[in-house]
């Protein structure tokens, strides 16, 4: 009897509102982009930040240090490959983060199930000016007539080049800039020349368990004026003449030793940094990082250059793109929590120019026109990318579909699957996936 009385009074003490006077808000911030909280511990000086991880980490530090509403942002960084699995299980278990990063390509899945909040009204209240968003950026966060995210960047595939290797191979102009190939045959000719004159590989590209395979396939389809879906998105056209050309092109890269089939994404990155390959096929997200590597005196990645993706098949200018945005997972929020969340969103929007430093394409007109942006290095050499960037259409299940493409196509160079077999296999699997779309 006594013990239960004690227990009840202890419980009463525990639930009584003692600590409510202090209105500190802690928000979970779920993202990929890498973990570098140790490296940038307490750094709030934006000039010290390098690469995606550095910029977002220092921005977070800065907000934590400088906001006057006692808001703390707790970053949970998750590896890119398992990010959406974790976000999904967190949502399923009612443990939604306050703010999460999301790709345009997966947005439809989340919107269709009411998993994230529409932001139109919130933007109006917070004074976030949507008319300052570039048209492509606004489109990337819009679905079903509403806005679902704060646009953060548009990212696209670029041609990263080791200028020193190209110069040695004699493939540069008078200023030492690489003269890009303009056709399939020219590309393979360049590869042969680089191999002969420098002994280096022409291309470094993630080829195993890497989303790059699907990105490049999309890109090659678009360069032929086609795409993996037909015009009205009612059918899949992977098993087509354009698909065959695209996959034959990729297969030839590996057959002729232009690229290494076994490289995964990070091995390909490392190989380019180590000066083992002349060209690195990767995205805007690598520009700042590669420039930093190249700046060091002894780096084998010398005279780094970066270009719009060249015309390698077909005759339509195109490169692959996607975009990052910040979303608010749907959940109960107190007015205080909502205010804190919006405060952080506004801060991110005010500083989205910093993000463009990583190499990404900006999302705001005012950033694009700013002097700071104009002063960023390399920008003129991939100025066309904004105009030629294409994104996968906003249909559901893009993630499993892109995974099917990755696994199905890479069987051609990792295993001994024939091109036609791989195409029809991928075609039927994507069609199967379509059956389940609602």
């Amino acid at each position: 009897m006594k013990t239960s009385l004690l227990a009840i009074s202890a419980l009463a003490v525990m639930v009584s509102p003692i600590a409510v006077s202090h209105a500190a808000e802690e928000l979970t911030f779920l993202r990929f982009f890498g973990g570098c909280s140790d490296q940038y511990a307490n750094v709030t000086d934006m000039d010290q930040a390098v690469g995606e991880c550095g910029v977002i980490q220092v921005l977070t530090n800065k907000f934590n240090a400088e906001n006057d509403q006692d808001i703390t942002i707790n970053t949970q960084n998750v590896e890119w490959g398992v990010y959406y699995d974790l976000l999904s299980t967190q949502i399923a278990s009612g443990q939604q983060p306050a703010i999460a990063v999301m790709h345009r390509s997966v947005l439809p899945n989340f919107v269709a199930r009411d998993l994230i909040e529409p932001l139109d009204d919130i933007f109006v209240e917070a004074g976030i000016d949507t008319s300052d968003f570039l048209p492509a950026a606004l489109e990337s966060v819009s679905y079903d007539g509403q806005i679902w995210g704060l646009p953060w960047d548009i990212h696209a595939l670029l041609y990263h080049v080791n200028g020193a290797i190209m110069e040695e191979a004699g493939l540069t102009d008078a200023e030492g800039n690489y003269i890009l190939p303009t056709s399939t045959e020219e590309l393979f000719e360049h590869a042969r020349i680089v191999q002969e004159r420098t002994g280096k590989r022409y291309l470094s590209i993630g080829s195993r368990n890497d989303a790059m395979t699907a990105r490049v396939f999309n890109l090659l389809m678009w360069q032929q004026g086609s795409g993996i879906f037909n015009e009205d998105l009612s059918g899949v056209q992977i098993d087509s003449e354009e698909g065959r050309v695209a996959l034959e092109f990729m297969k030839r890269l590996y057959d002729e030793g232009v690229a290494l089939p076994i490289h995964d994404g990070s091995e390909a990155t490392q190989a380019f940094i180590n000066g083992e390959a002349a060209v690195f096929v990767s995205g805007t997200w690598q520009v700042d990082t590669m420039a930093a590597h190249s700046a060091s005196e002894s780096s084998p990645l010398a005279n780094y250059q970066v270009f719009d993706f060249p015309q390698v098949v077909g005759d339509t200018r195109a490169t692959w793109s996607d975009s990052h945005m910040w979303v608010l997972p749907a959940k109960e929020r107190s007015p205080e929590e909502m205010a804190a969340t919006v405060a952080f969103l506004s801060f991110l929007n005010d500083n989205s120019g910093q993000w463009a430093r990583t190499g990404h394409l900006p999302v705001r007109q005012s950033v694009l026109e700013s002097e700071a942006f104009a002063a960023l290095p390399y920008r003129t050499s991939y100025a066309e990318t904004t105009g030629i960037a294409q994104a996968v259409p906003m249909v559901q299940n893009q993630r499993p579909i892109q995974d099917i493409i990755r696994d199905g196509l890479s069987a051609v160079w990792l295993g001994d699957t024939a091109v036609d077999a791989a195409l029809s296999d991928v075609q039927s699997q994507v069609e199967r996936n379509f059956r389940r779309v609602r």
Binding site: D85, T89, R113, D114, R208, D407, L414, S428, Q429, R435
Partner: protein, 297 residues
Amino acid sequence: MSSAVSRARMVRLRDGLSALAFLAPFLVFYLLFLVYPFGLGIWISFHDWELVGSFREWIGLWNYEDMFADPQFWRAVRNTLTFAAMTVPVMVGLALLLALGLNRQTRIHGALRAIFFTSNVLSVTVVTLIWIMVLSPDRGLIAQLFRSLGLEPIAFLASTTWAMPAIVATTVWWGIGFPMILFLAGLQQIPGELYEAARLDNASPWRRFTRITLPALRRTFVLVAILQVIGQLQIFGQVLIMTGGGPSQSTRSLVQTIYETGFADWQLGYASAMSLFLFVVMFVASMAQLYIARQED
């Protein structure tokens, strides 16, 4: 007379109640966290049931029809069976050899047994961390050996040929202790007199092995093999962490497919149907175990 009957009834009632009291705590857990989920799994498998959001629609047997027509599912089944077919014989054979070689009660034999068993207590994440490093083509232990022999290192986990054997090797390294102990227990039950008699007949060691040891171990042998089959059919952590099912799906296992269908593609209904397929396979294997054990007795 009647008082004796009612007393017996009282005792029975009291026993029944105390049995209930003793059983209740476990039964609560068992019913709530094993029996109910199992039934729920069957229920979910008849639905298009999503991980997130609230979409749940009765679709009857459609998930099962879809499953049997799904090449990805069959590929996973094939990979899983291949994995088991490669792992089980190596595991059983090597465990038997180790048990034979280490069946002495000296300090050094004890230490050796401990070495083979220790890796068994490590978690799958630790084991795979170790083996990803050992197998790494740039910095791995095996790559160092290859280079010192003047050979080009193989990127085991990146190769459709080598990834599966590499996962088999990892699994054998991890799990050998368990069947080894079972064989040792089996060996120790063989009466020494049998060998004594054989020696008097001047039987060679090989003869003693094939005529006495092997027949006496038959039951252990079957037990180990079936436990291994059941265990290896459930392979998950090693592939998820070491290859992610790649390269190009060549190592994707059934349990991994269940995991990805449920938690990456959100299709809990479909994943439940696959789980039940796995259950049936396991059930058949367990029944085979019981059947063979009966035959032996």
